[in-house]
Symmetry: C2
Subunit: 151 residues, 2 copies
């Protein structure tokens, strides 16, 4: 497990807020030189503190105004059923995230759609027809807030 000191923590938090900041700019905030800051960031990267760098899309601006979290309970749950379900769900373009979970449901899916009529189409023709689907619960997202996290 990776241990971070105070300065590392501040660097990581600053990068979580805005990943476009340069090592020089970050260092100035903390009273560190550019190379010192860069070396710390490199050490953190090499230690695997950061996940793969991705861009996240502004889906609203692209016409996807509706986000729904679905809980899915499978009717049949053999090894084959799980693999069949996962393969089929990966083929649905509107599904953004697949979580295999423990609890009242077997899977949680993050699904986007253009609007509610479009979501109904996705739900009826894509989700409900998935192999082995039992119960489905839906939560339409009204707003989402990302917090600093546990550091």
């Amino acid at each position: 497990m990776i241990e971070l000191d105070d300065i590392d923590r501040q660097l990581v938090l600053a990068l979580c807020k805005d990943a476009t900041q340069s090592a020089g700019a970050l260092g100035r905030e903390l009273g560190l030189s550019q190379p010192a800051t860069w070396r710390r960031i490199k050490r953190l990267k090499d230690a695997g503190v950061f996940g793969p760098r991705r861009v996240d899309l502004n889906l609203e601006a692209l016409g996807f105004g509706v986000t729904v979290f679905l809980g899915v309970k499978l009717a049949t749950k053999g090894r084959v059923s799980l693999e069949d379900f996962e393969r089929a769900v990966r083929a649905i373009p509107e599904v953004q995230t697949v979580q295999h979970v423990l609890g009242l449901f077997d899977y949680r899916l993050r699904v986007v759609a253009q609007d509610l009529p479009d979501f109904e189409r996705v739900l009826r023709r894509r989700i409900m027809t998935l192999p082995g689907v039992g119960n489905v619960e839906a939560n339409v997202v009204l707003s989402e807030e990302l917090l600093p996290g546990p550091l």
Copy 2:
């Protein structure tokens, strides 16, 4: 609403997979020159296609091995109750995401903890003591897969 042509779509998808690629490298894949690729990316940025650039942390490597999605149903739901609940939930370090949702629950929370005993502590001392909490449902995340999305 922003319209993308085929090349834009390929650029966006490539950046979703790996945001560290340079404009030159991206252009080479698509048979475009570096300036042409750069201009397209700039146009997309200015159009607001991309959300704020953040880094995502490898929480497992930092000692947070457990991720749980909680559904929370409030017992009392006036305007004040929602604001009180949101303010209190924002103060819990282990809460990563707060979603206000429509459906069987009022909120969905993404919570991380070091392990299951640690999660029990968070649940009993932080979550269950939130103002106005009624029913709580938990799904422990076993695995999570991010898909390309609806483009």
